[in-house]
Subunit: 124 residues, 2 copies
Amino acid sequence: MPTTYSPQEAAERSGFSPETVRYYERIGLLPPVRRTSSGRRVFEELDLKWLALLRCLRDTGMPITEMQAFIDLMRDGAGTRQERQEVLVAHAHRVQDQIERLQLHLGQINAKIDQYRRGKVWNP
Amino acid sequence: MPTTYSPQEAAERSGFSPETVRYYERIGLLPPVRRTSSGRRVFEELDLKWLALLRCLRDTGMPITEMQAFIDLMRDGAGTRQERQEVLVAHAHRVQDQIERLQLHLGQINAKIDQYRRGKVWNP
DNA sequence: AAACAACCCGGAGTGGACTCCGGGTCAAGC
DNA sequence: GCTTGACCCGGAGTCCACTCCGGGTTGTTT
């Protein structure tokens, strides 16, 4: 029998708050989750995978509108494979750039810390 | 003679919009900039250095309130040297973590791209 | 069976970081 | 001397990504 998760568990495992997960489903970032007869959500493995993907994209700074576009492409099926791949590749490049910029800035910050270490305290 | 810059130039060189630079000065993130007799801002080398620092901190995700705290410490003079250094060190660690998380996520994205490359197209 | 926690919903509210508005003031070019 | 464009200001508006609200159901626990 397939493992299932309560809203809370799904939230914990994905690192989003339960509210945020609901919100994501509302705006169509997450495909509609199965419900019990009384209307409560039942998350399955696949839903958690979606959430993990969202977490990954979100944490790397993809805006919600873009994620929606990507999700829509997935829903549109196999015909959009190429396009989805391109989106991911473009995003990967952006993330790469972001990492490089961060490393650069980190270097600057560390230089500043060094100035502090050797007492050259003054000026920005 | 010390080089000076118009608001526009200062904006261009710092990568902020002129509006944002004004905004930063308003909220005290940037120390009051010199003015001409008629009230126009005249940016000097030092101001650009401030702006560069702000850019660095901002781009590495430091929230504005924290930058304000840091700026305040600088204004409070030499007695806060230690404290400022600690703030920077703490921030450097956060940036380091951020970079690591990004690298991890980038790995996941690239894995996904590879799945696409080899036609294993389906599921999140 | 009473209490409690977790869940449901749509809609309103929040916080952060700008960005725009309208109206007024200069400085430079034609 | 007049138009044009950059600049000034405080206050209001915008955008994004949530987060909270109030009120109503369920399911479990004691």
